[in-house]
């Protein structure tokens, strides 16, 4: 190898190969950026690819119409509409199911007339039987764990008429358009039309999904779909059914698009930050290499080298580092991307298609590994190669520090106030500020890492404290809903008889949709389904957190309190404004008096019991009862829930749902855990990058001060004493950046909390300071500082004085 190289390229080779620690350091710093950018970009591409191949290929509905049961033929009239490409009718039954845990849960059964002729929201077989036979059910793959059953076992469902039926699980399907059971908390099953009859349901449909022709679409504007949907609405009503609701989906948008976007944004931020940090690191190292070789550069010039020749040598060195980094980081980036995509696939219920290494990712990685390092090192190399021969050879002994600036004077004054500090400590402190450019970049790296880390913890604690406040809403332990209304006094009497029940309060309840205004056309522009709860105004069963206006008062009549989730669909709702709610066939007119914080349990509105029950002609009756138990033990509460269900059924009360509060709270919390876990991973990655930066700086410092170390040894410093000088310096940098990061983390976290709150809870989070997060970072940054300086410090102590004094 060496024989074919010109001497100057041999020098480049020697620089690369001769100083392995330094080479490793530079490669690592470039690799961090290449890895992060490569991972994020290819995760993004893989995600897009997999999402479209899973969800996109399932022919997601442009819109869905929900109506009273109708005959199958009616679907043809929708299919024949101009602009409709495909239409398909289905039947949905919402019922109670008992799986392996002997516990009743909510299940969504879908009956499809012809499994081989699916056209919209296509369900795909995964294993077992296909299509479902008579009396059989196929489960969505995400529902298996939720129910705790597997193929071959049976589940018991309770028909809306109150009868129990057994269905055999014969296979598993994949329904890309469903939110996984883990998040929705309900299971999905698929049956045929014959099975529908066994469940006491008529052999009719109640939903039409349709896909519009691509030509009618105008970008992502839902208006053309809505127009066609309205025509489909009248078609169905002409066929003598009542349509409740038209749900229009934004064209080409996944139902959880906003969450997907949020995660993509976070990943992109992570990638860009890592790229910045890695570039800082590289600039530091390249500057140090040039400073170290100042004399060599002078010598090369003395024997006739031109500046551009030397420039080319060092840039080649940087290029070589880049290529080596690319070799390491690119495969790791692909692995990282497939891990991220796998994780996302589980969350959003799509099939992860495995590793792919597209050319554009490779090109981007190539740019990050070569172009950016070359550009970034251009300035330090230009500076470094500018040294004159005279400057270079007149340089000997221990190199001085940068010029004495204001910062040094300030430091001197501060140090004078602590005369008890030992000289090694003074040395560490002054050394910290010795190379200001390097210190600045190192501090920037660590500060960014620390800021993000602490901000994540602050957001997390704000999120949890907001959640805790929101969940204080639930003062009851169990809620039971009925399929029809019963006399309130009867319900309470039945419930209070059951041992373990401390208090019970029955409420009116119905569901409806908020209309945009009073006009007739507004009916098909209604909101999604909202729950209308009619509690006594002085109820102690719930404690809604009012964020605007007030709670209901005894003298209120048509007053309405809405929760903040209502605002997502109906942004026109304001305190003092009139609101029309369509419940069944009735239009109820309310005045909004207050807005309550969402409890992550869906859109809910509250109206005073007497007036509202009268308005829906259910005076004195109730459809739900809230129960406080005598025990605080979660298991006992769950058990009591089961007892309640059995006992009430025995007394001919038909039950829709039994919700145990603590289980509901768990589910709500777990939704946020995914978000905070993601943020935490991001924070930890940045912490690693920060530590790498500090380790890099400390290694450079050791390399640069090798001669000083020798002198310290010569005047009696033990290895421990020398190591201490470097560890204290690293600690100084770590703690200083920790403190700056702490100050910066507050506004960053406040901003982030606001965004996260608005995105997920429709109102800003209540900001809560986390001593835990800040403390963790301060300790972690100190620990990282010690670890980051230990290896360089140890290398420093292993140098013998002779090596050092003769060191150049």
């Amino acid at each position: 190898m060496s024989s074919v190289l010109a001497p100057r390229w041999q020098k480049v080779w020697a620089d690369l190969w001769g100083n392995k620690l330094r080479t490793l350091l530079v490669i690592l710093s470039i690799a961090v950026g290449v890895f992060a950018v490569g991972m994020v970009y290819s995760a993004y591409l893989m995600f897009q690819r997999d999402l479209s191949s899973s969800w996109g290929s399932a022919a997601p509905a442009s819109a869905s119409l929900y109506a009273d049961p109708f005959e199958e033929e009616l679907v043809d009239s929708v299919r024949s509409l101009r602009g409709v490409k495909e239409a398909e009718g289905r039947r949905n039954v919402d019922l109670r199911v008992r799986g392996a845990g002997n516990e009743w849960k909510q299940m969504f059964l879908t009956a499809i007339p012809d499994y081989s002729e699916q056209r919209v929201n296509i369900i795909k077989p995964q294993s077992g039987a296909w299509p479902p036979g008579d009396g059989d059910v196929l489960l969505e793959r995400s529902s298996l764990a939720e129910l705790g059953v597997s193929t071959g076992q049976s589940i018991t469902v309770e028909t809306p008429a109150g009868r129990k039926r057994t269905l055999k699980v014969t296979g598993v399907v994949y329904d890309p358009s469903q939110i996984p059971s883990l998040f929705s908390g309900r299971s999905y099953g698929y049956i045929n039309m014959d099975t529908l009859e066994k469940l006491d349901e008529p052999r009719r449909l109640d939903q039409v999904n349709f896909v519009v022709e691509p030509r009618v679409l105008n970008g992502s504007d839902p208006a053309p779909i809505e127009a066609i949907g309205r025509r489909a609405w009248s078609k169905l009503e002409q066929g003598d059914t009542t349509v409740f609701w038209l749900q229009v989906n934004k064209p080409g948008e996944h139902p959880m698009q906003s969450a997907i976007n949020a995660i993509m944004l976070l990943l992109a931020v992570l990638g860009v930050l890592s790229l910045f940090l890695s570039t800082f690191l590289l600039v530091n190292t390249v500057t140090a290499i040039l400073a170290q070789q100042m004399r060599q550069i002078g010598m090369m010039k003395a024997i006739g080298a031109r500046r551009d020749q030397i420039l080319a040598m060092y840039l080649t060195l940087v290029g070589a580092y880049g290529i080596l980094s690319l070799g390491i980081a690119a495969p790791l980036g692909a692995l990282g991307a497939s891990a991220v995509t796998g994780f996302m696939a589980q969350i959003f219920n799509f099939n992860s298609g495995g590793i792919e290494w597209p050319l554009q990712v490779l090109l981007l990685e190539f740019a990050v590994a070569l172009v950016i390092p070359l550009l970034a090192s251009l300035w330090p190399v230009w500076q470094g190669t500018g040294i004159t021969v005279r400057e270079a050879i007149s340089h000997y002994g221990i190199r001085g520090s940068d010029g004495k600036g204001r910062l040094d004077n300030w430091l001197d004054q501060s140090l004078r106030r602590f005369p008890a500090l030992s000289r090694p400590a003074v040395l560490s402190l002054r050394n910290t500020f010795r190379r200001k450019g390097r210190l600045f970049l190192t501090m920037l790296t660590l500060t960014i890492a620390g800021t993000v880390f602490m901000a994540v913890f602050l957001v997390r604690s704000s999120l949890y404290s907001t959640l805790d406040q929101a969940l204080e809403y639930f003062q009851y332990d169990i809620s039971v809903g009925f399929t029809q209304s019963y006399r309130a006094s009867r319900i309470e009497q039945e419930v209070l008889r059951i041992p373990g029940v401390k208090a019970a309060e029955s409420w009116g309840m119905t569901s409806g949709r908020i209309l945009r205004d009073e006009r007739k056309e507004s009916e098909d522009e209604a909101s999604k389904n909202v729950f209308l709860l009619f509690p006594p105004v002085d109820t102690t069963m719930i404690q809604p957190k009012i964020i605007a206006g007030r709670w209901l008062l005894p003298e209120d009549e048509n007053a309405l309190v809405v929760n903040s989730e209502i605002l997502k669909d109906s942004p026109q709702v304001k305190v003092g404004a009139p609101v029309v709610v369509k419940a069944g066939t009735r239009k109820l007119r309310f005045i909004v008096v207050g807005i309550a914080q969402s409890t992550m349990t869906g859109p809910i509105v509250y109206a005073p019991y007497p007036w509202a029950t009268a308005a829906i002609q259910e005076t004195g009756r109730a459809r739900t009862v809230q129960i406080v138990t005598q025990t605080t033990d979660p298991k006992a509460q769950t058990a009591l829930g089961r007892t309640l269900e059995e006992e009430l059924k025995k007394n001919n009360l038909r039950i829709q749902n039994v919700d145990i509060t603590w289980e509901q709270k768990e589910r709500i919390r777990s939704q946020f855990d995914i978000l905070t876990t993601f943020l935490l991973i991001m924070a930890v990655l940045l912490a690693i990058v920060g530590a790498l930066g500090l380790a890099g700086t400390m290694s450079i410092n050791v390399l640069e001060r090798t001669r000083e170390i020798g002198v310290m040894r010569a005047i009696g410093a033990s290895s421990l004493a020398i190591a201490k000088v470097f560890v204290v310096e690293a600690l100084c940098i770590g703690l200083l950046s920790g403190l700056i990061g702490m100050v910066l983390a507050l506004p960053v976290a406040a901003l982030l909390s606001y965004q996260v709150g608005v995105l997920f809870l429709q109102s800003p989070l209540s900001f809560s300071f986390s001593f835990f997060g800040v403390g963790i970072w301060l300790i972690l940054s100190a620990l990282l500082a010690v670890l980051a300086s230990l290896l360089p410090a140890r290398n420093a102590t292993r140098l013998s004085v002779r090596e050092v004094i003769s060191y150049e």
Binding site: S422, N431, E708, A714, I715, S718, L720, R794, V801, I805
Partner: protein, 252 residues
Amino acid sequence: MFKKWLAGLTAVELPGPVPDAPAVRMQAVRKVYQTGAGEFEALKGIDLVVEPGEFVAVVGKSGSGKSTLINMITGIDRPTGGELWVAGTPVHTLTENQIAVWRGRTVGVVFQFFQLLPTLTALENVMLPMDFCEMYADHERSERARGLLELVGVGDQADKLPANLSGGQQQRVAIARSLANDPPLLVADEPTGNLDSRTAAAVIDLFNQLAGEGKTILMVTHDQELAEQSSRILTVAEGRIATAFSEDSRHE
């Protein structure tokens, strides 16, 4: 494993010196370097005794082995064979880490290029060895360092950083630093190599004064004129001590 890894960083114990020993005693000291061209014997069996209070100049051509000899005595380099006792301590038996602490207390080293730490003031540079070797009480250190700077004639420069001192001033500070722990032995490698002749003469005077106060001084130089101001000249040639003059024999 980690413990072993960290062993180099832990504190050290030193064996106590033998009392009333000579300042330096070398017995058949050899030093062999492995070089690309094979073995190179830099020292070929040196026997030498230096008594306390002597000011010895070591002279010789470049490559004669004089620097190697000095590096042996300061513990900067280690002998391949033979015994080396400095102020009653068997240096050839110490570890690198022990040598550092031993050297700090026993040998003051003065370098050609001064080698002051740039971020510490003159005074702090002089106090540093006391800190490292934990000599003298905290409050005494500053006073002692000031006294040493006065002694070498740069007392008024105490609070300046090395960059703001002239070469001669820096070398004086370096000598003050070498005296910080009151070592019995002072070793200087070309201490005047970077100084003008007037300043160099002043440094030699200072060494003579220190020798008069009982310090043993070993100085490497290639300047015959300066060497002759010492009490004894050792000429090293091809790894052996060629001649040893004492002041008395020279003047006879």
